[in-house]
């Protein structure tokens, strides 16, 4: 039982990180039709900015979140200006290639900046743990889950109660009609890019104390996030649950089936879902004409 709870919580923590990355991808996909292959690297950037601020400049942990959010928002806007704005009217695949290149640019810029050796960001709680039903749960895990829930609620409110949220929902429901109704996509897209990058950055800061931070960190998690996006059917709520489901599946399968194939389980989910229900779970991404 204790083992199960420990595994379950670690899956839930991992799921929170997947969910934050996947939410950023879906947010952007809904608003602009772009699938962002740089999302994982934005997450790494978040982790590195956190490391830079806390370890190298001895900044406060709370303040760090603010710094990461601001830096990542700017990075997202920059990404939009460089990699999306000039290509808006081109094929979706072209934009995918451009985001992929942007991701590589971030990754290699991080290597130039901090080197490729793995780093470690200290957790605000150190190694302290909480005992729940006899299982020792790291406080960082509780923090990760908590922050993700808060972010999720904030996103929900933003989507349901604000004008921006209504515009994004309209774009997601019917892009052409929404634009005919006067929604200014060109104004909206830098904002959404920034917001989506911010989500990735928060994920990076949360996951950094648990794992070794290296430039390739985010790209490895990207496919798990894609699995969540695909399984969740490109809806915010669905994606969040799918992310948690995939992480739990991964954690339980690693513990009870085979630890050797731990990194293969998200791939398996992608392959199975795409092979079995290509049109059911997934809205087919069509060309963006505006």
């Amino acid at each position: 039982m204790e083992r199960f709870i420990a595994i379950f919580t670690s899956g839930l923590t991992q799921g929170s990180v997947y969910a934050l990355i996947a939410l950023g991808i879906v947010l952007l996909q809904n608003a602009t039709g772009v699938i962002n292959f740089a999302q994982g690297d934005l997450m790494t950037l978040g982790a590195y900015v956190g490391f830079w601020f806390v370890v190298q400049h001895h900044g406060g942990q709370i303040l760090m979140y603010g710094v990461v959010i601001v830096v990542l928002f700017c990075a997202g806007v920059l990404l939009e200006r460089i990699g999306y704005a000039p290509l808006r009217k081109r094929e979706p695949l072209t934009i995918v290639i451009s985001t992929f290149a942007l991701g590589l640019a971030i990754r290699s810029a991080l290597i130039v900046w901090q080197g490729s050796d793995p780093l470690n960001l200290p957790s605000p709680f150190g190694n302290k743990t909480v005992t729940i039903f006899g299982a020792e749960i790291p406080r960082q895990a509780i923090l990760t889950i908590g922050v993700t829930i808060v972010v999720g609620i904030a996103l929900y409110l933003l989507f349901q109660r604000s004008s921006i949220g209504r515009q994004v929902r309209a774009l997601a429901a019917d892009r052409e009609t929404a634009i005919l109704q006067g929604i200014r996509v060109n104004r909206l897209s830098p904002l959404i890019f920034g917001l989506s990058a911010t989500l990735a950055g928060i994920a990076g800061v949360l996951v950094a104390p648990v794992v070794a931070v290296s430039p390739a960190l985010g790209f490895g998690l990207l496919l798990s996030a894609f699995a969540a996006v695909i399984l969740g059917g490109e809806r915010l709520g669905g994606v969040a649950f799918a992310a948690v489901f995939i992480a739990l599946f991964q954690a339980l399968a690693t513990a009870y089936v085979s630890p050797k194939f731990s990194d293969a389980y998200p791939f398996l989910v992608i392959v199975l879902v795409l092979a079995v229900r290509p049109q059911g779970l997934v809205r087919v991404a069509t060309g963006v004409r505006f």
Partner: protein
Amino acid sequence: MSVSDTHSAAPPLEARPSPLRRVIPPPAYQRRQWLFLAIVLIAGSLVPSVYGGTPYRDGLLAEIMINAVLALGFYWCFSLAGQFTFGVFAMYAAGAYISVWGAKHFGGFWSGLLLAAVGTALIGGLTRLIFAKLSPIYFAIATMAIGGLMLILFREWVSFTGGYNGIGDIAIPSVFGDQLATVHQRYYLMLGVLGLFLVLTICLLRSPVMRELTMSRDKGPVAASAGLKPRHLQLVAFTVGSAMQGVAGSLYAHNSGYFSLESFSIDISLSVLLMVLLGGMGSMYGPVIGAAVIIYLPEQLRGAQKYSELIYAGLVLLIVVAFPGGIADARRIVGKWLSRARSK
């Protein structure tokens, strides 16, 4: 970056003479593909005697050849079949491992090469078949997942691949009973394979099938209503492309006496994409030119190695945004500038 840009570079409507007066040949016939093949073969066989000689330079030339074959395979998948794939690195690895295994058990390099081609064709074709209904972006993600799965499989299946410890005792290629013991000799073998694949590509480009393939790629539903079978055609082109990638892996394996799983990562997919983008996706010259530039140039920029990936990424962005046609399209762009300058 419409793939069809360069194929439809016909003069504007009003400038076109009436079809009654002159029959316009298909775009493919206006290009000098056989001339390009001759240049590649002649230059390819002359370069080693001018540039080569040291093991390092011979190795570099061989690497260019291997990557040209690999990029040509990607060109078949991406430009001809219209399916972007991230799985190039997995096909390359699969080709290498199957080939080593085949050469060991079925007598020699050639059976290994053949098995690698057939094996990767099967994997590629099956992938395409299973994910036939996906949109291009989801197909790209699916190939990424398949590639990742294959790499994990190769990592765990140590008896077949040697895992990270690597695999040695690789058969040395031989032609008509003569062993190709040096890289210099194997280079000509690779040149021959590349030449063969280029001939195959030219035959396709100049055949009516290419017209049908272009239509299936760019206007799938319309092609279907015109009586074509878009998915079948794309499947065939994708399978052939996968086989070429597998052959590139086989050439790599038999050129190196020893290799391990570390040789294969998703970075290969990226550099191949860069080769095809840089060379020009709309033309068969692209992969060859791109491979030569991408392999040769970083060797000359030794001091800037730290920044090499950053430069790669910047290049991809620059090409995607500003020069969608790549180097192969340079003549057209320069011509456009010249005519614009003249008209001023």
